[in-house]
């Protein structure tokens, strides 16, 4: 019964279409959803919407600058919560995959593959660490939009006063929520007060 179980999102970054399709096929009808695939790091960086972190990124480590793969997380500063899995064609030196949370090889069977992925998402396999949580500082624009939101302006009104599109307003709002962890307007109001972005007098 995968129907009721929690689902997990995966992004694949792999140049070979044969390999990429093979993984998609093996993960069909499981709790893993492959939400996007990219052929290289550059296109991922350019096209992937950073507001939503996938649960896992499967990446062929040879796509990253040689000798720097061990800094895997530094390539993905916005994805502190994501699990990184290296996708290997053959034996590689251990330092190449240092920093990855796990690895799979193209010789893994479906059973082995699922077992590895499931072990990685088990809550017990995660632990507290001192990795930095990405950028959580609000930009000036984000602050302005946050203030407008808690003052009760609609997205349309904010777009007009700030001279930007509604789409941009929405994407700034998503970033504010991602960085602060706060979703409701009443919550954002308290955030703004404690961070001196507005004062109680402003609210009258």
């Amino acid at each position: 019964m995968t129907e009721n179980a929690k689902r997990h999102t995966i992004v694949i970054i792999e140049p070979s279409q044969i390999i990429e399709s093979g993984i998609c096929k093996l993960l069909e009808n499981t709790e893993f959803d492959i939400i996007r695939s990219f052929t290289d790091y550059q296109s991922f960086n350019k096209d992937y919407f950073k507001g939503i972190s996938p649960d896992m990124i499967l990446i062929n480590p040879t796509l990253l600058q040689p000798h720097k793969q061990f800094l895997i997380r530094s390539f993905f500063p916005d994805f502190a919560e994501t699990i990184f899995v290296s996708l290997l064609y053959s034996y590689v030196a251990p330092e190449t995959i240092y920093g990855f949370d796990g690895n799979i090889t193209i010789y893994d069977t479906r059973v082995a593959l699922l077992k590895k992925l499931r072990n990685l998402i088990l809550p017990g396999s995660k632990h507290f660490n001192d990795k930095n949580s990405g950028n959580t500082k609000l930009s000036q624009r984000e602050k302005e939009i946050l203030i407008a939101v808690v003052k009760g302006l609609t997205n349309k009104e904010i777009a007009e006063t700030q001279n930007i599109s509604i789409h941009t307003v929405i994407s700034h709002r998503k970033n504010v929520t991602r960085k602060t962890g706060i979703k409701t307007i009443s919550g954002l109001l308290m955030y703004a007060l404690f961070n001196n972005l507005i004062s109680v007098e402003d609210m009258r």
Binding site: N4, I182, T184, S186, G187, L188, M190, Y191, F194, V200
Partner: protein, 217 residues
């Protein structure tokens, strides 16, 4: 299985038991014995206990067909009553206590809004959804309403509690009495978790069972 074993395995069931009219202190009695004495459906009771205990507990279709919807509604009504009469006021009182020194008026407004939202949420379920289900159970088909409409509008009442946790943990000045702050937070976490399970029971068990009846009418 003994009733005591359930609670020993998951103390959060201490909140679930009274909603079924069950008390602890029944010695070595089994779940089945206790349920039979209280005339409660064993399968419904265990289903709720399982949802509360195991994340990702998967509910089999065959189990759903065996449960009594009116008993489930009764459980949900009792839960609403408990939230509104005891737990929400308690959590709010705690919050107001620890926020006396910082933006107390704003926290009060926050809590007031939450109370209003949750009142409206439960009120809708009790005055629109549950009566609709009762009439379905009597074999009457109500044309103006169906479970999909409920599903689409079923709001998330835990979101603002989550924001509240976030704010209190990160920004509430350290001058506040730590012990009081901690107790307030622990109760807030427990309420949020309980409400999460409550919503899960409505979204998974109630909605699927009602959809099944709608199809068969």
């Amino acid at each position: 299985m003994k009733l005591a074993d359930l609670v020993l395995a998951n103390y959060k069931l201490l909140y679930v038991l009274p909603r079924f009219g069950i008390q602890i202190g029944v010695g070595e009695k089994t779940v089945k014995q206790v349920c039979e004495e209280k005339k409660i459906s064993v399968s419904l009771f265990l289903l709720v206990c399982n949802v509360y205990t195991f994340d990702n507990y998967s509910i089999e279709k065959c189990v759903l067909n065996g449960i009594s919807l009116s008993a489930l509604i009764n459980y949900l009504r009792n839960s609403h009553k408990e939230y509104l009469e005891t737990r929400v006021p308690k959590v709010i009182a705690n919050i107001l206590d620890i926020t006396k020194s910082a933006y107390s008026a704003q926290f009060e407004a926050f809590c007031q809004k939450y109370k209003t939202d949750i009142d409206a949420h439960f009120d809708y379920e009790e005055k629109v959804l549950f009566p609709y289900i009762s009439s379905l159970l009597q074999g009457k088909k109500v044309l103006e309403y169906n479970i999909k409409e409920f599903q689409a509008n079923h709001t998330n009442i835990e979101e603002s509690l989550d924001d509240l946790k976030n704010i209190l943990i990160k920004y509430l000045p350290q001058v506040t009495d730590f012990e009081q702050k901690r107790n307030a937070l622990v109760e807030l976490f427990m309420l949020e978790e309980d409400l999460n399970k409550h919503t899960l029971i409505e979204d998974k068990i109630l909605v699927s069972s009602v959809a099944f009846i709608e199809e068969s009418l």
